[in-house]
Symmetry: C2
Subunit: 245 residues, 2 copies
C-alpha cells in the first residue's frame, strides 16, 4: 500500500513554491493554492509502481516533484504504447475532468518518484466560477498541445538517429559545448517513447555516434561538441536548438 | 485578393447552426454566438491558397465550413512538416491567443475550402470574464490533446500499412461492411501527414491491399470487408474500431 502523507499547513509555503513551478499554478492566487494544498498529499513511488490504471475513477490529478512518470496504454495485441514520459514540475491527469472523470491512460513511476496528489473534483468545481484559474488551465493545455505538435513533427520528419539526438539535446545544458549526461531512464523506454524497436534504437545510436562524435557507456553519454549534435539532429526540424520542446 | 463576405444578421441562424457543430461553440449561449457572428466573415479559398503564414499577427481564428486545411511548418533543411490536416467543423488558431497572437504554423487550403473567420481578440477578451466560454475552450483543447495523443500512438506503434488503413477507416461509414471511398486530398499529402516518404507510402499501400483485399484506382478505394481492414489496422493500437480518432 502506498504511503500517503497529507500536506500540513506549516509546509504550505514550501509546497506553494513547488506548485508555482508548473504552468498550471504559476499565476494562481495564494489563497486558491492553499485551498488545493489543504486537500493534497505527497506520495512516493518506487520504480515501476503503478500510480493509476486506465479507466480507474479519477479523483486526483498530479504534479511531479521529483522523478519520472510514464503514461501508456496497452495495444490490442498486448504491446505497450507510450503516450508520454513526464518529469519534474509537470502536471498530469488534470484534463480527466473532461473525460468523465476516468483516467485515459496508465500512469507508472519510471524511477523512484515523488508526486503531489491534488483534488480533481475541487479543480473542476473551482474552474467553473474562477476565470483566472480557467485561464491558467487553458494556458497549460495550450502548452501541452504545442509540445504534442512538436512531438508529432519529430516523429514524422526526423530519422531515427536524429530522434535520439533531439532527445539528448533536451537533457543538455544549453550553454556548454562539451558535456556529460546521465540518462534519466533506461534505453528501452527511450526507444519506445521515440517509437522505435530496441534493435532500431541500437542501430540508430551507432549512426548518431558516427555522425556527431558522442560516446556512450551504459546510461552515461559524453558529448564533445553540442553544436555538432544540434546541427545534425535539428536539420530536418522547423525549430532551431534550443527549441524548448 | 481573397473575397471576404461579412455575415449579415439575417444569416445568423444558419451560421449559428454551423458554429454549434464544433466542440468550441456547441454549448455557448446564442447571444454570445451572435456577437461573434457580427464580427465574422465567410472566406472561400481555392486549392493551395494560403490562409495565413507562420508568425503572421493573429487577428482571427477559423472554423472550417467545407473542405480541408493543412497546418504545416518548414523545416531547417527546406522540407515541409505537416502538423495537421483539418476538416469540416474543426476550429483552428484559437489557441494563438496564448502564443502572443502570432500564428504558430502556415495554414493552407488543401482543396477548395470555405471557412468562417472569427475575431480572436474578442474571444480573448470574452473568455476572461465568461467562465462558460472558458469551459468550452477547455473542452475543445482537451479534445485536441486527446486526438494528438492518439496520433502520437499511431505514429509510434503502427507499421506503415496499418497507418494507411487507420487513415482510411476514419473516412469510412461504420455501419457498412463493403464500401467505396474517395480520398479527400491527394496521396502525397496523406503520406506526409502519416510521416512517410511517397515511395514508402506506395510500398505500404501494396502491402495493405495484399493483407485486406482493398483495391485502389487513383483516389478511389474499394473496401470489400471493413472488418478485415479494421482487424488488420487496429491490432497494434490501444483502441478498437471505431475509436473516434
Amino acid at each position: 500500500m502506498q504511503a500517503v502523507q497529507r500536506i500540513s499547513e506549516i509546509d504550505f509555503g514550501h509546497f506553494e513554491e513547488a506548485l508555482r513551478c508548473s504552468i498550471l499554478f504559476e499565476s494562481v492566487k495564494t489563497d486558491v493554492i492553499s485551498e488545493f494544498l489543504s486537500m493534497s498529499s505527497v506520495l512516493n513511488f518506487k520504480k515501476n509502481d503503478i500510480i493509476y490504471n486506465l479507466e480507474d475513477k479519477a479523483e486526483w490529478f498530479y504534479l511531479i516533484n521529483d522523478g519520472w512518470v510514464k503514461l501508456s496504454r496497452e495495444t490490442l495485441n498486448g504491446e505497450e504504447a507510450i503516450l508520454d514520459v513526464l518529469g519534474k514540475d509537470e502536471v498530469f491527469a488534470e484534463n480527466t475532468m473532461f473525460e468523465n472523470f476516468r483516467y485515459t491512460a496508465n500512469a507508472t513511476a519510471v524511477e523512484d518518484t515523488e508526486v503531489i496528489r491534488l483534488p480533481l473534483g475541487f479543480l473542476a468545481n473551482s474552474v467553473e466560477g474562477d476565470s483566472e484559474l480557467a485561464m491558467s488551465l487553458l494556458k497549460c493545455s495550450t502548452s501541452k498541445l504545442s509540445s504534442k505538435n512538436k512531438e508529432i513533427e519529430h516523429l514524422s520528419v526526423k530519422n531515427a538517429p536524429q530522434k535520439i539526438g533531439c532527445f539528448l539535446l533536451r537533457l543538455c545544458n544549453h550553454s556548454k559545448e562539451e558535456q556529460s549526461l546521465h540518462l534519466p531512464f533506461d534505453k528501452i523506454l527511450i526507444a519506445a517513447k521515440l517509437g522505435m524497436k530496441p534493435e532500431t534504437f541500437s542501430r540508430a545510436l551507432l549512426k548518431l555516434k558516427d555522425e556527431t562524435g558522442i560516446s556512450v557507456d551504459g546510461r552515461n553519454f559524453k558529448i564533445p561538441a553540442l553544436s555538432n549534435l544540434s546541427q545534425y539532429s535539428c536539420s530536418s526540424c522547423s525549430s532551431q536548438f534550443p527549441c524548448g520542446a
